[in-house]
């Protein structure tokens, strides 16, 4: 029997949110290929590894209907199961996998200690934005993240979400420019929305923006772009779907100002089915953000055959050879121009044709690749 792989779920179990990182964790669990067992664990307040009941994995893979009740129930179940955790000796942990970004010095120390005992420690890295683009985050946040970089020295094996992340690691985090074979890139699945393949129709008139509305994701440029179009008499509909950050004061004020505007629909944290319904009317997905660890929304839209408008600087842009209008500048005028061009049916149809030819990996593919890589240790 191969050595089990311990999966450090400290953050997910303590605070189960629906963040991008936690989604990847859930997909990794859901599609774990075996043969080695995946054992959930976390690090307690004393820095000790404790093994969680296997039922944790089932809870995390359960279907999500998006309702507050279901999510609250999940939280309760995880808390209950976490209480049943039992200590596990470091010597028992031969293979440790971490898919989380964390701030805890205790956790960094725990990984460093266990790596020192010879345990194979595998980390999957998303991006280094908090360290390399601190301007996108509140003052002082980067300092609090530094224990993650310290703990990263424990990792004996690395995999990366994108080529950009791998390059940043080599050149700027490790600062070893000629480092080779540092680890694979494991592309995320593009089928998370589970939307059937879409086809173009001139009746599709909506543009959909998916993702958290927060200042660093540049929502204002998108909203200003649509306001420009509306002011030109173009009655085109924008659907904004995602979590609303209280920091996005300008965007929230915009929504309040346009509360009676039939061309603006705001859906706060929609359930998957609601999102699918919106995308079935979409002409394109728009992502105004320029600073992302990956840039999942255009990637997922394209999987369903829906074109996207996005920044050329998104890490995911490198994986999107066609079907996407990639913009050099994500200002209001550029976005408005791109949207306006897609209102022309012939232009839109051409982009939809391109999108139809694109094939992207699924979460199952990702899960298998990640599992295989984790078991290579």
């Amino acid at each position: 029997m191969p050595e089990p792989v311990y999966l450090d779920l400290s953050e997910l179990v303590a605070a189960p949110l629906r963040t991008g990182i936690q989604r990847i964790e859930r997909e990794a669990i859901r599609h774990w290929p075996g043969p080695a067992r995946l054992l959930p664990c976390r690090i307690d307040a004393q820095g000790q590894f404790v093994q969680l009941p296997d039922a944790v994995l089932e809870v995390l893979c359960a279907d999500d209907d998006g309702s507050p009740e279901a999510r609250d129930a999940e939280r309760q179940q995880l808390r209950h199961l976490a209480d049943k955790a039992r200590p596990v000796a470091a010597a028992q942990v031969k293979r440790l996998l971490n898919l989380e970004l964390f701030f805890s010095p205790i956790r960094a120390d725990a990984h460093l200690r266990i790596a020192a005992t010879g345990t194979s420690v595998s980390w999957y890295l998303y991006d280094f934005l908090p360290f390399l683009r601190p301007d996108l985050f509140p003052q002082g946040l980067t300092r609090t993240c530094m224990h993650f970089l310290r703990g990263l020295r424990a990792a004996t094996r690395l995999a990366f979400l994108s080529d950009q992340t791998r390059r940043d690691y080599i050149r700027r985090v490790r600062r070893v420019p000629d480092l080779e074979a540092v680890g694979p890139i494991l592309q995320p699945g593009a089928d998370g929305i589970q939307l059937e393949r879409q086809v173009f129709s001139p009746s599709r008139r909506d543009f959909v923006a998916i993702g958290t509305v927060e200042p660093r994701k540049n929502p204002q440029a998108l909203l200003d772009a649509f306001e420009m179009l509306w002011n030109r008499g173009i009655a085109i509909r924008l659907v904004v779907a995602g979590r609303m950050s209280p920091d996005a004061k300008d965007a929230l004020a915009f929504f309040a100002r346009h509360a009676a505007n039939p061309n603006l629909v705001v859906m706060e944290q929609p359930a998957d089915e609601a999102l699918r319904a919106v995308l079935r009317q979409a002409r394109a997905v728009v992502m105004p953000s320029e600073a992302e660890g990956f840039g999942l929304p255009p990637y997922e839209a394209l999987y369903a055959g829906i074109p996207a408008i996005a920044s050329v600087r998104l890490p995911s842009a490198a994986l999107l050879p066609a079907g996407v209008r990639l913009l050099e500048r994500m200002d209001a005028a550029s976005i408005a121009d791109a949207v306006a061009s897609l209102l022309d049916d012939a232009t839109a149809a051409r982009l939809w044709d391109e999108a139809a030819g694109i094939r992207l990996p699924t979460w199952a593919t990702f899960g298998r690749a990640l599992g295989d890589w984790a078991q290579e240790a």
């Binding site: 360290f131 390399l132 509140p138 980067t142 310290r150 985090v173 600062r175």
Partner: protein, 787 residues
Amino acid sequence: MAWRRESPTIVVDMRCLQDPHYTSRGVGRHALTLLRHAPPGWHLSGLVDPALPALLPAARAAVQSIYINAYAASGAARPGSPPAGFITLSPMTHDPLFSARLLTDPNLLRVAVVYDFIPWRHPDRYLPGPAQRLEYANRLRWLARCDLFAPISKSAARDLMTLLGVPERSVAVTGCPLAPGFENAASAQPHQAPRHLLVVGGGDARKNPEVVIRAHARSGIMQRGRGIPLVVAGGYSPTSIDQFRAIAAAAGGRADLIEVPGHVPDEALVDLYGKALAVVSASRDEGFSIPVIEGMAAGVPCLVSDIPAHAELVPDSECRFPADDDAALLPKLERLATDAGWRTAVVEAQATVWPRFRAPDVGDRFWNGVRRRLSGPAPAVRRGYRPRIAMMSPLPPDRSGVADYTAATCEALGRFVELHVFTETANPTRLRNVASVRLLGELPHLSTGFDRAVSVVGNSHFHTRIFELLQRHGGACIAHDARMLLFYRYLLGQERALAVASKELGRLVTEDELNDWLDDEGKLETLFLSEIAESASPTIVHSPVTARMFAERYGTTAIYLPFSIYHPWSPEELTKDRRTEARRRLGLEPNEIAIATFGFVHANKAPEECVWALEVLRGWGIPATLHFVGQSDAGLSAPGLGPLVEQLGLTRYVRFAEGYVSDQMYRDYLIGADLAVQLRTYGFGGLSGGLLDCAAAGLPAVTNQSLGAAVGVPDYIRCIPDAISPLLLAEALADLLAAGMAAERPEAERRAFSEQRSMDVYARHLCQALGFEPEHDVARPAMLETV
């Protein structure tokens, strides 16, 4: 050279039009009339005191601009377009020191409006104590500095000439203006049968209505039948009214005939005049008597006490009576009531008097006097004059970077000007090129013996008095700090801090917010510089960011002079040998990469980020050490620092200074360190003397963008984003190392920067900011003289 100008600018001291004690009384009315009748095309600038209530809107409308201190209104602040004259509208009622810079300026025509010298004649009543008498004498001395006097009556003019020895040619008697509503009241109103005698009095016992009450009470004609009422208008207390009635009763009259309507507005007063048999003014002393000309304009005969101001208006002695002689007044009252012919003759004779006091005529007499004097000869400046500058600042040995900066400024500036320094520093260090160092006081602000007054203001207790004087008297100001939060909160008090913050932000700032800002200056929303912006002319700042914020937030221009090198280095001090010696003194290993960070250790200088950057650098295999070169009570000002150093296992590689860092150690680090870090967690254009020192010494360093922009740094100082990332900090330091800058300092760039930022250049720019061109070796000072 002459004072004559087509459109002269005249500064007017308008405090009497702010002070509610005067705005609605004779002083305020007279002052406002004068302003409203200024010659067309003349530019009037109002001087107001921000500590007094707001200026009357009508007064604000009468001037084109407003200044809040005398310096700002003077030629010192506006050398290109200095004012031609200064008018003090009420010189004896407000602190003369406030306008002293204008009153002592021989380049100005100084004009005083003179009302009366009643306190001088009745000291027991108006100047009861020595303090009041001294104060009055002091004001008289300041009044005497004026060139032209505009008394409201000939009698006031005579007093002026007697008291101050003012020559007649310097006097222009104006009279007082009749309010337009009283003009031609006689013809404008239908004739009404006389019903009462009228006294327009007031709270002051000098008005003496009692003598009229007694005469009225003793008059059988007045008391007979229904009687003729005596109306005593003015703000009297119930006690006074009771006393009036008691006096009437005691004199055998009827108390019910005494009517005291209280303060009467102008329209009602016109009506009272219209129904009056006579107006009686029994005042014991006046500078002028407005009720008399009002009565005359209403066509009512006026009987007046025999005092000089009344005699000017009522030349007929038959209509005058000794002020306290009711027996003399009584027959005149009865004759007016019974002798219609005499009454008519009196009215006709008096009808020729009041038209002289129409507001435009009073205004013309005043402004013609000013115009005549302005067209006379003016003072001239002797060629080769060397400006005299007063600079108010802390000096070494006070432990203040600002004190050091001033010392360096003085040495350079003193080559161009005659420089006098005023300070509270005990036993100040001897300064080169400075004419004198004196104890700080008001003198440099008040005297035009100093062409410019320059206050040096910073965010510490060394500047409290300097700031107060600047607020009161104005002057140029070198504002060292980009925000004055701590100064306001801890030195001026929480209430003041909250008030200023609320004013700057246009909303109510709470105590909690203020405490939040104190905990983390990164959250600060405002600069606390508005009062400096209002008072100073000009404000000089050392950060372009601050200058921009001045314009954006306060709508005023601050002059930006680059923060300059006040600890210069010669190439000989920076040789490799000297570096080796310095490193040895500091105990640095040859292969150690010593990173220094200068200044008091505080959380707002991101010390934790520095420690983390060290951790990253060591993780990259760079044998770096971190040295906090500044007083450290890290436990208080950066509480997480010590535990973090320990947690990261960096105790051996982080060095804190013990106590105060000596100059020698500070300089050794500037020479001996390989790299430096100077960070700020807040923006607002704050400066760092430490960063400038690094640049001056050619020490390669890393700073954050806003601090780098504020100081203006050369290429060997690298900037990272203001949201500080230890990884980016480590990366920038490693890049400097990789570029070989630590091993071989960029001497050529350092020299170029040092020349560009020398104190000599700074002093030249400072001269220009103060309004004159710097010239070396000009003759010793020559004071202004009149030709």
